[in-house]
């Protein structure tokens, strides 16, 4: 479960002054549900998710992730979260097995548990073929599958995905999408940010439209279609942000 309450993040920029990257964002994401955070580049998606993953500290407001407050118990929050982003890369000089073991140890797993979990993940994600080869020799697809294994090593109840399909080819992107669905089916709490409208339709149970740091609309796909009188997600998005995207 994720509960964000009036989450706000203000950055100080020497040239531009005060920037409200995230402004008073409140939403709830439940287990067995994929919450899609939809927004253009620079809308505040990454900042929101980084605050939930405790990489950034909110300027005001707060959030509870798997029962822990992000500002009070950041380590406990991170222990309950699997975070996967286009910007979270792997160590090129380690093998997939070593990567899984490293993050397993950092998550407090014992050697026995790590061995068992590695086998399980390698079976599920078909890693066996390259498990003992160095990551820097992998194809993009192999890297993605290894990243997923890294994210899941501690079997977290909450999963945060920040535009995980950016820069991936169709096949690699499909692997990710399938994996996100699997997480929902296993009753995990999933939050997924994207700027790709088609992904929202395919994946998300609840969609939050974020623009210039503010959450402008929220609801299931049906609710949003009914509210904006459009069936196409792109049209819904444009209407929600008041036709501003091109200008933005």
């Amino acid at each position: 479960m994720i509960e964000a309450r009036h989450l706000t993040k203000v950055f100080q920029d020497k040239k531009r002054g005060e920037i409200r990257a995230v402004d008073d964002v409140t939403f709830t994401c439940r287990p067995g549900q994929i919450y899609g955070l939809l927004g253009a580049n620079g809308a505040g998606k990454t900042t929101t998710l980084r605050m939930l993953a405790t990489l950034l500290r909110p300027t005001s407001g707060g959030a509870t992730v798997a029962g822990h407050e992000v500002t009070q118990e950041p380590q406990k929050v991170r222990a309950q979260v699997g975070f996967l982003a286009a910007s979270t890369a792997l160590y090129g000089r380690l093998t997939a097995r070593e990567t899984i073991a490293y993050f397993g140890r950092l998550n407090g797993l014992t050697a026995g548990a790590i061995a068992e979990r590695t086998k399980q993940l390698a079976d599920e994600l078909e890693l066996h073929e390259f498990l003992d080869r160095r990551v820097d020799k992998y194809s993009t697809g192999m890297k993605q599958r290894t990243s997923i294994a890294r994210t899941l090593v501690h079997d977290p109840p909450v999963l945060i995905f920040d535009e995980p399909t950016v820069g991936l080819d169709v096949m690699a992107a499909r692997t990710i999408v399938r994996f996100v669905r699997d997480c929902r089916d296993r009753d995990r709490t999933v939050i997924y940010s994207t700027h790709i409208m088609s992904e929202v339709g395919k994946l998300c149970d609840v969609v939050g439209i974020i623009h210039r740091g503010r959450l402008l609309a929220e609801g299931s796909l049906e609710q949003l279609r009914a509210r904006f009188g459009e069936s196409d997600m792109e049209e819904i998005f444009v209407k929600a942000v008041g036709g501003e995207t091109e200008a933005a």
Partner: protein, 410 residues
């Protein structure tokens, strides 16, 4: 603080580093093989050139002196030089290294000697050219002996003893212990090398583990794991410290091996007087340093290594990319070399105030320690203050790792 997490990070970074060819090059291959290899190569070539030059009989042209057969025949009889026919382009021939030197006998030299009049003999050489220098030495030796002979003849003719013109002798004798001589001569250089090696050894891993990770996108991956920032910093810090100390240890071991082996090799290959002198000096330097003092220097360098590792890690973390980090850290080399060089200057002696100046204090106290002088109060002050600086640097580094504007600087 969680020791197991620190160890996990440290061991992973160690494995990662050992698989990186660039680190291995900068940490092990270059200090252990390249530097001593270069030293040996230069040493061997130098000894060979000097040996060849010293074995050659210098060719000399005699200018003038047609009316002074005595000095000319004495020159011709000297087997240590070979006279060649004088040509008008003798200057050019010296410059072209065809002839080593020329000597000009002034007109009426023999007659002037008989009448007790002073004349000036002039030697023409190629300044700075080794073989020309050997020619000049032989000519000087010849004329000194020739002058002594004339002098002795004159004194005998007047019934005077040799002490008439040389009433007393002057001699110098060293009373300082051998290790003090060694300490004074190269004691200052030792911490200088240590300081530079210690700094450069930490530089590459410090950048790779911070700005390098940001650039490769692995920083965000590790930050979203449940490890505490403090444990992450300490694991990385220990790795940088290891690299720094490893560079020092590998360099020192290989240098020592080079000095001992190289000295012996040069002695064997050269055999000549010049090489003997060089070989003995090289081989004799290490035993001349106080061994306890050397251990002391190593102990004193530890907190300095901690300070370097922490500062470099913190500064490199601030950078967004590998290149940016390099441009921040490179100027630091000048900053740390300056106090190390000041410590080498003559007359700069250790006192309570200088004992608080980082790096300079190490340079000064090391010079004393390898000479076998132990001012324990200063040693304690320096060790204590350096530890305090190191602790501050480490605290600064931890603070930097807790700043999101540093970690996610855009």
């Amino acid at each position: 603080m969680n020791g197991s997490n620190i160890a996990t990070v440290y061991l992973k970074e160690l494995k990662d580093m050992l698989r990186d060819r660039r680190t291995l090059m900068s940490m092990i291959v270059i200090p252990t093989l390249l530097m001593p290899g270069l030293m040996l190569l230069i040493g061997t070539v130098t000894v060979k050139v000097i040996k060849k030059a010293s074995q050659e009989t210098p060719t000399i042209m005699v200018l003038g002196g047609e009316d002074s057969p005595a000095v000319r025949s004495a020159l011709a009889e000297n087997i240590r030089i070979r006279l060649v026919a004088t040509t008008p382009d003798w200057r050019q021939r010296i410059s072209d290294k065809k002839v080593r030197a020329a000597v000009e006998i002034p007109p009426g030299f023999d007659t002037a000697l008989e009448h007790g009049e002073a004349r000036t003999v002039k030697i023409y050489n190629y300044e700075g050219e080794v073989r020309s220098g050997f020619g000049v030495n032989e000519l000087r030796r010849f004329f000194n002996e020739y002058r002594d002979k004339v002098l002795t003849a004159r004194l005998t003719a007047r019934g005077l003893p040799d002490t008439f013109v040389r009433p007393f002798e002057v001699k110098t004798e060293n009373v300082a212990a051998a290790e003090k001589v060694g300490g004074n001569a190269i004691g200052g250089m030792i911490p200088y090398f240590f300081i530079i090696l210690c700094f450069t050894g930490a530089m590459y891993p410090a950048i790779d583990l911070t700005a390098g990770e940001k650039e490769r996108g692995t920083m965000e991956t590790i930050l979203c794991s449940p490890i505490a920032r403090l444990d992450l910093v300490l694991g990385k810090f220990l790795m940088v410290l290891t690299a720094s100390l490893a560079t020092v240890v590998f360099s020192v071991l290989s240098m020592a091996a080079t000095v001992v082996l190289g000295g012996t090799m040069l002695l064997k290959s050269a055999g000549g007087a010049a090489a003997m002198k060089g070989g003995v000096a090289a081989g004799g330097v290490i035993p001349l340093l106080n061994p306890l003092g050397m251990l002391g220097v190593v102990a004193m360098i530890l907190p300095v290594a901690v300070m370097f590792a922490a500062v470099q890690l913190a500064v490199a973390l601030y950078a967004k990319s590998y290149k940016e980090a390099q441009s921040y850290l490179s100027p630091f080399i000048v900053v740390i070399v300056m106090p190390a060089v000041i410590g080498l200057l003559p007359g700069v002696e250790l006192n309570a105030r200088l004992a608080l100046v980082p790096i300079l204090n190490l340079s000064l106290v090391s010079k004393e320690m390898v000479s076998g002088v132990f001012h324990w109060n200063y040693i304690a002050l320096i060790f204590g203050s350096t530890c305090a600086y190191a602790a501050l640097a480490l605290a600064f580094c931890v603070r930097m790792f807790n700043r999101e504007d540093v970690l996610f600087r855009t």
